[in-house]
């Protein structure tokens, strides 16, 4: 496993977490819980963007990783 594939894996886990949170925010009955889930969901979105940027950087630095 190369570093870039590890980072990519994390990126997709973050995406999974984001969607789970969105489901929870929609399904929760308690407004407080809904708000919290929504906030954390936005936080995950920021992390997702950061990681995406990093993946792109790595691909530019080491073009041989592109396929993995």
């Amino acid at each position: 496993m190369t570093v870039i594939s590890n980072v990519k894996q994390s990126l997709s886990t973050i995406k999974g977490i984001e969607s789970q949170l969105s489901i929870l925010a929609l399904n929760s009955q308690d407004p407080e819980a809904q708000k919290t889930f929504h906030e954390i969901m936005n936080m995950m979105n920021d992390i997702k963007k950061d990681l995406q940027v990093r993946v792109n950087e790595m691909m530019l630095e080491e073009p041989q990783y592109k396929g993995s």
């Binding site: 894996q9 886990t13 949170l21 929870l24 929760s28 819980a33 906030e39 992390i47 990681l51 940027v53």
Partner: protein
């Protein structure tokens, strides 16, 4: 009509009359909180018994007496809703037995309770040590209500300064294998959602005996087939595990990378994920 057929007829008539009467008087009569309800409860019962067994008695007279007792109890209930002093007179007030940790001997004497009876009442409420009690009051029902001293009260999340998620009432969406559409609607879910969730748990609708939706929209089911392992909702603990894994990954990446900006980015995100874990932990623990 022979005696025993008389008794059968009377029994059924009074069963019906008593049932109607209790329905009209409502739950308050059953709980017998006030003195008045206690008295009328006893009397209505004995009038019915008397008329059923005493065959000389007139059925109409019995029903009349029961009706009067019911009517008076009902009107006393109405008046005491309106007037405070009337309520105090009819329903009685609680008598304070222990105040500031001290027994009120005069009040005990007034209610004709001995110290032993007081300790019996306390023990029935799982209080064995008189020193634990801050305040105790004898309710008009004859029950004792106890306020323990703060240090003897059960600890709550508030005492520990722990943030807990607020729970809403779970809705029973499947009862005895039948879908309850009203609760499904109040949980804000559709029939489609329910069938999807049941599919996700890998059981068939026919096998579900009881199903409840909690405030996070998780479905818990009980199956007819008790030998089968009960599926439990796993989404929230799983999400927590994913968050923790990502947090650990960020820390590893931070150590592995040589680029300074990337190090900072990983560090920042590891911290963010840590915050997220802390914020979500009350909501994601079962």
């Amino acid at each position: 009509m022979s005696d025993w057929s008389q008794i059968i007829v009377r029994s059924f008539i009074f069963l019906f009359v008593l049932f109607i009467m209790t329905k009209i008087l409502g739950k308050k009569q059953i709980s017998q909180i006030s003195f008045f309800e206690y008295v009328s409860g006893i009397t209505i019962g004995s009038i019915a018994g008397e008329v059923i067994m005493g065959l000389d008695g007139n059925i109409g007279h019995g029903i009349l007496a029961i009706g009067i007792f019911g009517l008076v109890t009902l009107s006393v209930g109405f008046i005491s809703l309106k007037s405070n002093s009337f309520r105090d007179f009819v329903e009685g007030k609680g008598t304070i037995f222990i105040k500031d940790g001290k027994i009120m001997e005069d009040n005990l004497k007034k209610e004709k309770y001995s110290t032993d009876e007081l300790t019996t009442l306390l023990r029935q409420k799982d209080v064995f040590n008189l020193a634990d009690v801050e305040f105790a009051v004898l309710e008009p029902t004859g029950d004792i209500s106890i306020l323990l001293k703060k240090e003897n009260r059960p600890i709550t999340p508030k005492d520990l300064n722990v943030k807990v998620a607020n729970d809403k009432v779970p809705q029973t969406v499947i009862r005895d294998g039948q879908i309850v559409y009203d609760s499904l609607a109040s949980a804000g879910k559709s029939l489609k959602w329910l069938t999807d969730e049941i599919d996700k748990l890998e059981v068939t609708m026919d096998n579900v005996f009881y199903g409840q939706v909690d405030s996070y929209g998780d479905l818990t089911v009980d199956l007819y087939d008790d030998k089968m392992k009960q599926p439990t909702p796993q989404t929230r603990p799983l999400l927590m595990a994913m968050l923790k894994k990502c947090q650990a990954d960020m820390e590893i990446f931070e150590l592995e990378t040589e680029s300074e900006s990337a190090k900072n980015m990983y560090k920042k995100n590891a911290k963010k994920l840590n915050d997220a874990i802390n914020t979500l932990s009350p909501y994601l623990s079962n």
